[in-house]
Structures are given as C-alpha cells and as structure tokens.
C-alpha cells in the first residue's frame, strides 16, 4: 500500500513538473517583452540578460503614447478590427442560421465553396486583390482592409455560428411562428438573445484575426495614414536606429486587447470542453 502511494507521489510530482515547464515556456517570451518595456535605457544593455531589472520605468510607454504615429496606427487598427468583427459576425450569423435551420438545394455547394476557399493559400489572391483594389481606389484605405478581412473571416465565423444555432431547439422559433411571428422576427427576438455568448465569441475571433493580420496590411496600405498597428510596428523595427524599449512597450500595448478577449473567451472554451465530456 505504501509503495503505491509513493509511486503516486512521484507520478504527480512529475506531472506538475512537466506542466510547470509548459507554463514557463508559454510565459517566458511575453515576460521578456514586458521586462524590456519597463527597463530604463541606461541599464537596458548593461544588465540586458538579467531576469529582473534593478529599476523600472514607464518612460517607454510615455514615448509610445507621445509618438503620434503609434496612436494613429492604434486608432486605424481599432477601426479596422472593430468594423470587421461586427460586419463578419452579422453576415456569418445570417448564413450560419440558414445552414443550421434549412436543408436547401445548393447548400452542399456553398459549404463546399467556403471550405475550399479556406484551403487555398492566401498568397494567391494577394496580387489580384492588389490590382482590383488599385482600380477601385481601395488601396491605402481602411475600407479596403475591412472588406478583405470580413470576407476571410466569414467561412470560419459561419461554421462557428452554425454550431451555436444547432445547439438551440428548433421548437422555440416554431412556437413563435405558430403564434404569427415571421421567421425573421423569431430569429431576432427569440433565437439571437439565446446565442448571445456564441455571438460574442464570434465577434472576438474576428476581431483578433483582423487585429494581427499583416500581409494584406503591408501590401495594400503603404501610406502611414492608413497603416494598421502591425505594419507600423514592423516598419518601425526595421528602421536604422532601433529603440527597443518603446518598441516592446508598443508590443505590450498591442497585446492588451487580445489578452482581454482571450481571458473572457477561455472560460467559455473550457466550458465547451466540459459540456462535450458530459455528453460523452
């Protein structure tokens, strides 16, 4: 009996040690980013490899916020990601609802089309979109990026919304329709409020996707006034004299919206997993 309890202890020690290694690896790059962002310039290179800076400062953040360029990029990114998230969720909710509630001719082909476009390398549409947008005057505009990001987000967002609608009993809107409501009214007033967590998740996914996109942002919008945050940061980092402190402070700021979203959503993710386990 004592032997088993000893081997149990060893097993759990190893278990936690392995998990601790994962935690350390997951957090270290982000910790380093944060550490450099609060290390004052005069000790940044002298004590560059120390795990803890001997003194801290918020100067780099002041530089970033004081630099009007970064504020502009931040504003552009918020507009592009926000509008993209709302537009793609709206379109995906409608399409996801149709996929969930109707069996109709052509559905197979639409779903197939969405899957196939997901499988294609994005790089193949880069040159045609650049040419088309050039003709339409959509290069160097935020609208151009919003259109592209919305289109790219829709397939995944639609499948996500479809799975949320699948989880809501059909009888709810059928009852409302028997009482004389149109299907659309039943969708807006009865079904949509119930899928609200799903809608929030979809908004979050689309927002994060648009927030980090760099290829189209780099190619389509070369003028600083229409640059998003990733492009601003990347171009800043490749300039001759590089100031690491402000750059990493900017990186930390870029991380904030994403982290907020992630910690909101992850509980939901775990819940989803547990629900799956209960079902199984």
């Amino acid at each position: 009996m004592r032997g088993t309890s000893l081997s149990r202890t060893i097993k759990w020690t190893l278990h936690y040690a392995a998990l601790l290694a994962y935690v350390a690896v997951a957090l270290f790059p982000l910790y380093w980013l944060f550490k450099v962002s609060i290390t004052p310039n005069d000790i940044l290179y002298k004590q560059g490899m120390a795990l803890l800076p001997s003194k801290v400062t918020l100067d780099h953040y002041a530089t970033v916020v004081g630099k009007s360029d970064f504020l502009l990029y931040f504003r552009n990114s918020i507009i592009v990601s926000g509008v993209t998230a709302l537009a793609s969720t709206l379109l995906a909710t409608a399409a996801g609802y149709a996929f969930s509630r109707f069996g109709f001719r052509g559905k197979f082909w639409i779903v197939g089309l969405m899957l196939v476009t997901q499988m294609f390398p994005l790089v193949i549409v880069i040159t045609p979109i650049f040419s088309i947008f050039g003709v339409l005057g959509l290069t160097n505009t935020l609208t151009g990026l919003i259109i592209i990001y919305t289109a790219f987000n829709i397939p995944f967002a639609t499948f996500l919304m479809q799975s949320f609608f699948d989880g809501i009993p059909k009888e709810l809107e059928e009852a409302a329709m028997i009482d004389g409501a149109t299907r659309f009214k039943a969708l807006v007033e009865i079904v949509a409020p119930l899928t609200l967590p799903g809608i929030v998740a979809t908004v979050g996914f689309c927002f994060t996707g648009a927030w980090g996109e760099i290829l189209f942002a780099l190619l389509l919008n070369s003028s600083p006034s229409a640059s998003t945050f990733p492009v601003g940061l990347l171009l800043y980092s490749t300039r001759g004299t590089v100031e690491y402190g402000p750059m990493m402070a900017a990186g930390v700021l870029a991380l904030l919206p994403v982290c907020v979203f992630f910690f909101l959503i992850q509980r939901y993710l775990v819940q989803g997993l547990t629900a799956g386990a209960v079902k199984g």
Binding site: H15, A18, L19, Y22, V23, V25, P29, L30, W32, Y45, G48, L91, A94, A95, A98, R101, F104, G106, I110, L113, T117, F120, P121, L122, V123, I124, V125, I126, T127, P128, I129, F130, S131, I132, I147, T150, A151, F152, I154, P155, W211, I214, L215, L218, L219, P230, L233, L234, Y244, G251, A254, V258, C259, F262, Q266, L269, L273, G276, A277, G280
Partner: protein
C-alpha cells in the same frame, strides 16, 4: 383565395435560406473566388505592376522560369522542412500537454488558460517577440545557447543563411502547440470513462490503456487535424515574413513567403502568381495523396 397565398409562401420558403446566406456568399465570391481565378490567369501572363503595357499572354514562360529558379527549389525544400518540423513538434508537444491536462487536478483551471495563451497572440507579434529573443543585443536565447555549447558565439541565428529558418520554426512550435492540445483534449474528454475503468478492472496497465484505448479513439481526430494543419502551416508565411523576410538572400524562404516577397518587392505579379499556382497544385496533390491513403486504410478494415 388561399391558393395564391400558399404558393407565395412556398416561394418565400425556398428563397428564405438564400436571403440569409446571400450577403456572405456574394462577398466570398467577389473577394476570394474571383481573385483566385484571376490569380491563376496571371500565372500565364506577363503582369508587371508598374508597366501598363504588360499583361500579354505568355503561355508557360513563367513556369519555365520557375523550373530554372534556384530560389524556388530551395523554397520548396524549406517548405517541407518548415511544415514537417512545425506540425511534428506542435503535435508532439500538444499531445503531451493534452494528456497532462486530461485528468482533473488542483490548479488546472489556472494552468490551462496560461498554457493555451500563446495560441491567442497575433502572429506578427509572435514573430517580432521571437526575433527579439533571438537577437543577442536584447534577447537571452543566443547567450543561453552559447553557455550550453550549442553555439560557438552568441550570434543572431536569423542572420545565418544555414540556420535562419530555425528561428521561425521555434516561434511556430511555440504558437501552434496549444492548438493541438485544445483539439486533442476535446477528443480525449469525449472518450467514455467506463472503457478505461473496464480495462483497469481487466488489469491493463497505464501504457496498455494508452495504446489500446486512447490511441485508437484519438486516431480520427489526429489524422484530420494533422492533415488540415499541414495545409494551413504550409500556406502561412507570416512568421517568416516578419522574422527574416525570407533572408538572408532567400535562404529561409518557403514557397508561400517567396510569393509574398516576389509580389511585395519584385512587383512581378505574373511570376508571383505562377509560384502561387505551383503551391496550389502541390497542396492538391498532397491532399489527394492523403485521401487515397485514408481510403486504402478504410478498405483494409
């Protein structure tokens, strides 16, 4: 009286799903399907961005150039290295992580979100973060590798033509491991507990249970996830574009990043499209190969 009303309602019922899905559908056709067709057509034309007289049909010329392009062949080789190492290690570390998280233990609700966090970080920031970590002026990794005797001097691996690709691969593994962990954990949790309990009563050990219950149950999820992930990773040039721009001297290009840099710097859209078309064909061959293997495996059962 009721007849025309019923017919109209029936017509509406047929139209209704289309009304809901049309906006999404139209946007996808206009911004994805049409450009894909145009993009493939570019591959057979001479399209130069800054030259309005260009655009003529050149047949297979771009593909002939491609066959002679040493950078393309190197990028193709790198695509295999990049995809295999990223997906392989992401899968391995993801599976281990999923197994570690599978059973309830005190602290799981705190540890789980932390180890899943890398998955939520935007790619461009991961790329920049890892290039800083690998930069000896500001990051610790070269110094650690030097101290461990892995490097002869604490230099920047991203500037080394022989090893530059290792940088994006490290970043890619860090990023993608949680994805596999999440998918495999969901699959693990759907395995009925009773099967394990029955096996335990029959005296099966931990490894035996893993081999004869866990692996067969996970296999379908593993297969489909690895297949989709392979295509996705092969298509994703972001980390390479951000960390090395494919350099030094195209040594760390994969095909997807080669297309991007050709379009971005070279302005030769016809040639860039030919490279992209070649990538599409290769991925199709890969997918067909996998599907036929799957078919063959199902056939032998």
């Amino acid at each position: 009286m009721s007849h025309p009303g019923a017919a109209a309602r029936r017509r509406l019922a047929i139209l209704e799903p289309w009304l809901y899905s049309a906006p999404a559908l139209i946007l996808i056709i206009v911004t994805t399907l049409v450009p894909i067709v145009i993009g493939i057509s570019y591959a057979f034309r001479n399209v130069m961005l800054l030259d309005p007289t260009s655009g003529g049909f050149v047949g297979l010329d771009n593909f002939r150039d491609l066959m002679r392009d040493a950078s393309f062949w190197n990028a193709l080789k790198n695509t295999v290295t990049w995809t295999a190492s990223c997906v392989g290690f992401q899968f391995l570390f993801g599976l281990i992580l999923a197994l570690l998280l599978n059973r309830p233990f005190p602290g799981r609700s705190i540890i789980q979100p932390i180890v899943f966090l890398p998955w939520a970080i935007p790619t461009f920031l991961i790329g920049m973060n890892w290039s800083w970590l690998l930069n000896p002026a500001i990051g610790p990794l070269p110094h650690w590798a030097y101290a461990l005797g892995l490097m002869s001097a604490p230099t920047n691996i991203l500037a080394d033509p022989n090893y530059a690709l290792v940088g994006p691969i490290l970043a890619g593994i860090w990023w993608g491991t949680p994805f596999f962990a999440i998918t495999l954990l969901a699959a693990l949790q759907s395995i009925p507990r009773e099967i394990y309990e029955a096996a335990e009563i029959d005296g099966a050990g931990g490894f035996e249970r893993f081999r004869s219950i866990t692996i067969p149950f996970l296999a379908p999820t593993m297969l489909i996830t690895v297949m989709l992930r392979t295509i996705w990773v092969a298509n994703s040039p972001e980390l390479i574009v951000v960390m090395t721009k494919g350099g030094p001297a195209d040594s760390s290009q994969i095909v997807a990043s080669y297309v991007f840099t050709q379009a971005y710097q070279g302005l030769n859209f016809g040639y860039a499209s030919a490279v992209a078309t070649a990538l599409v064909v290769l991925l199709l061959v890969y997918a067909l190969l996998l599907l036929s293997i799957r078919q063959a495996m199902l056939g032998t059962r």
